[in-house]
């Protein structure tokens, strides 16, 4: 490697690089802990050694292959599939969510754990012969004309991880399809995402079509170029700030009967953090 033209500055810059930029992420990092030793996670995971704790740990570590194998084995050994879902797989996922929320876990941890959990649930459901209970159905889609769906995929993952039944319509979804699926699935909440100024205008069209069909389900709208003030020009909507807020917003609807108007007024309280756009 040839010498960098920047090398001549080496002696000058490194002693005081903190006057230029501070790597706060490194600066505030706490001591390393095994995920299962985190005090909050300790409370969540099955404490007793055995199949359920072991299964929860495979989700915590996002190990889908191992998770699948352990689920199969447990079912063969006569474990109750509902019990495995609720007291092993979901517990592992709750631990993941807790670690993500406090900043110890990252997106890939969450995605891989979600993949493992969903796969384990599917095997249990096979055994059951029907779908397991979810808290409620929530419908997700990226609006017509918008090919971007990574944000929507995050929402799906957070919903599943929190016990909601995510009905994912995909991306570039026509308004008519949204209405049809809403009629069929009767979701308690929908999320519409858009990345561009000219696709966020779909929100108002969707609201109009839903109202014509007599559907008043709250719609959380968000994504790249989306602004709260624009979203709120349409009734029935609220502005969604972060993907991980969605399950909390769904809880507010399901558990506390909150309306879209309540959500607009109480967003920060509902998601449990100060949100600049909503304060």
């Amino acid at each position: 490697m040839s010498e960098s033209p920047l090398a001549k500055y080496n002696d000058l810059i490194f002693d005081n690089y903190e006057d230029i930029a501070v790597r706060y992420n490194v600066k505030i990092e706490g001591p390393a802990l095994k995920p299962e030793d985190d005090p909050e996670v300790v409370e969540i995971l099955p404490k007793e050694e055995g199949v359920k704790r072991s299964l929860a740990l495979t989700v915590l570590y996002g190990d889908k292959d191992e998770c699948d194998a352990q689920v199969e084995k447990a079912l063969e050994a006569g474990e109750d599939p509902i019990d495995l879902i609720n007291n092993a797989l979901m517990k592992g996922m709750d631990g993941v969510s807790a670690l993500y929320t406090k900043g110890e876990f990252f997106l890939p941890d969450l995605m891989l754990a979600g993949d493992a959990m969903m796969s384990g649930v599917a095997i249990c459901e096979d055994k059951l012969g029907h779908k397991s209970e979810t808290k409620a159905p929530v419908m997700t889609f990226a609006v017509e004309g918008d090919p971007h769906d990574i944000g929507k995929n995050l929402i799906v993952m957070f919903l599943n991880a929190n016990g909601y039944g995510a009905i994912d319509l995909g991306r570039d979804v026509p308004t008519a399809e949204v209405v049809k699926q809403a009629q069929e699935n009767k979701p308690v909440l929908m999320t519409a995402t858009a990345l561009m100024t000219t696709t966020m205008t779909e929100f108002s069209k969707i609201v109009a079509a839903l109202q014509e069909a007599g559907i008043d389900t709250p719609i959380g709208c968000g994504g790249g170029a989306v602004r709260r003030d624009f979203v709120e020009e349409s009734p029935q909507t609220f502005y969604g700030v972060e993907a991980y807020h969605v399950p909390k917003l769904a809880d507010a609807i399901v558990d506390d009967g909150k309306t879209w108007e309540d959500i607009r007024n109480e967003y920060s309280d509902i998601v449990g953090e100060y949100v600049a756009a909503y304060s």
Binding site: Y9, L12, I13, N16, Y17, E18, D19, I20, A21, V22, R23, Y24, K27, I28, G224, A225, R227, R228, D229, Y274, A276, A277, S279
Partner: protein
């Protein structure tokens, strides 16, 4: 009170002036030093429309702005930042509003400091609500402002600032008519006298409360000239007259320091390089990262010798890139990082000169505010430092000379309008009396009649 007027330069040469460095650094806030080596970003966001309806609303908008700014500072690794709260009338008029808005803003800064170790401070700028026709001294507004300063100082302000409006009614008249005598009287004489009144009080409040008395700006006068002068294609005020008004503003805004203010002075004081050349106090400035608020012709030049770098003002709303406090703080923070890197690796004087030359000949205003010429104007001011009138006129004459030199050396061409107004300004100023009292007497006679709001008694004249 007898002021210690500046009669010599704190900088031995123009080359001693550079961004981030002063001979009189100022400690403030939490671990922050201004003018002590590093340039610090200063973010300022206008309260949202409607928030002024209630103190709750003002407090909420203050928290919202501070939260978004602090969040971004942490996200991008800014070592230091300052928030400026520039009061709207509804904040300054109410002691409670001043208290609560200041406290909630400082609370967010404190969190940023405590969690991440960032260096932070809060600049509190009280609105000058006074109107000359209703009394600059002792009026209800004047008293409310004193209260507001106290309230800020006791609730988290690191420093106190103001944009005083003394002389504005006369200078406005002069700026819109190209009457340069009115400009000299309004800015150089009336502005300076009013600043002495206000700053004596502010320095006292700051000292009693152990916060820093910051500085002023000739926003009300020289910025009116600059904004009306506008871009190259605007046809309102002459850019050469705007340049002359700015030079006079240098003599005026210095008064805050003479009263005991320590800086940083206010961002929109484009005359700050002149003040810094004389007093070597930290200055705040704004330019290419303040286009949200206004357009000027000195976007880079304004950074050349700044110590704090500001966006001036912006609506509090969402951009694709996030809330505006974060968006504009990031632009500012990047520019500060560039300057601070230059300081560390020794390219700071080259960067300073590159900033200056990028705009020095874009417009006559750039000619006189380039730090080398600002220094010459500073010398002209200190040579007559004891007399607010003579030093203001000296600043103006030096500015005219510097512009004419640049023209003679073929570095800048003037339009006919700029040329004609500069020539007539020179002629007018050369014919003025050398005696302050005589000048004032003529002006009172002339503008007492033409400007109905002007009340000389408000200046003890």
């Amino acid at each position: 009170m007898v002021l210690k007027r500046f009669t010599k330069m704190e900088n031995a040469s123009a080359d001693e002036m550079v961004f981030g460095q002063t001979k009189h650094p100022v400690k403030m806030g939490l671990d922050q030093v201004m003018g002590g080596g590093d340039v610090v970003p200063n973010i300022k966001v206008a309260p949202a429309e409607g928030s002024e309806e209630s103190i709750d609303g003002l407090e909420a908008t203050s928290k919202n702005i501070a939260f978004a700014a602090c969040e971004r500072a942490a996200a991008i690794g800014l070592p230091a930042m300052q928030i400026e709260t520039e009061h709207v009338q509804q904040q300054s008029i109410s002691r409670e509003a001043s208290e609560r808005c200041t406290a909630v803003t400082f609370e967010e800064l404190e969190k940023l400091h405590d969690k991440f170790g960032a260096k932070v401070s809060l600049m509190s700028t009280v609105a000058d609500m006074r109107e000359e026709e209703n009394g600059l001294r002792g009026s209800e507004f004047d008293i409310a402002m004193d209260e507001s300063f106290e309230a800020c100082a006791q609730n988290g302000a690191s420093m106190l600032c103001i944009e005083t409006i003394g002389g504005k009614v006369v200078s406005d008249y002069g700026i819109s008519r190209g009457d340069v005598r009115a400009i000299l009287y309004g800015i150089g004489v009336l502005g300076s006298i009013d600043m002495e009144y206000m700053w004596t009080k502010i320095v006292d409040i700051a000292k009693r409360n152990n916060v820093v008395p910051g500085g002023d700006t000739d926003c009300a006068q020289a910025n009116t000239a600059m904004f009306l002068a506008g871009g190259l294609t605007s046809k309102n005020v002459s850019h050469t007259i705007a340049a002359v008004a700015r030079a006079i503003a240098g003599a005026r805004s210095l008064v805050a320091i003479e009263c005991g203010a320590q800086g940083p002075t206010k961002d929109c004081g484009y005359e700050n390089p002149i003040v810094k050349s004389i007093a070597s106090v930290p200055i705040c400035a704004e330019g290419k990262n303040a286009t949200c608020a206004h357009s000027d012709l000195m976007g880079n030049l304004a950074a050349a010798v700044c110590d704090v770098w500001s966006n001036e003002s912006v609506y509090n709303r969402e951009e694709m890139g996030g809330p505006t406090p974060g968006v504009w703080l990031q632009s500012l923070g990047c520019e500060c990082a560039l300057m601070n890197t230059a300081t560390q690796i020794g390219t700071n004087k080259q960067l300073r000169d590159t900033y200056a030359l990028a705009d020095k000949y874009r417009d006559p205003q750039g000619v006189i505010l380039s730090y080398d010429n600002a220094y010459e104007i500073g010398k002209a001011i200190t040579a007559e430092g004891e007399d607010i009138y003579l030093r203001s006129r000296a600043a103006a004459l030096k500015a005219i000379e510097l512009i004419n030199d640049a023209v003679d050396q073929n570095r800048i061409l003037l339009t006919r309008f700029e040329r004609d107004t500069l020539d007539s300004t020179l002629k007018t100023y050369e014919q003025l009396p050398d005696d302050k009292d005589k000048f004032i007497k003529t002006c009172i006679k002339r503008y007492g009649r033409k400007v109905k709001e002007h009340d000389p008694s408000q200046y003890e004249l």
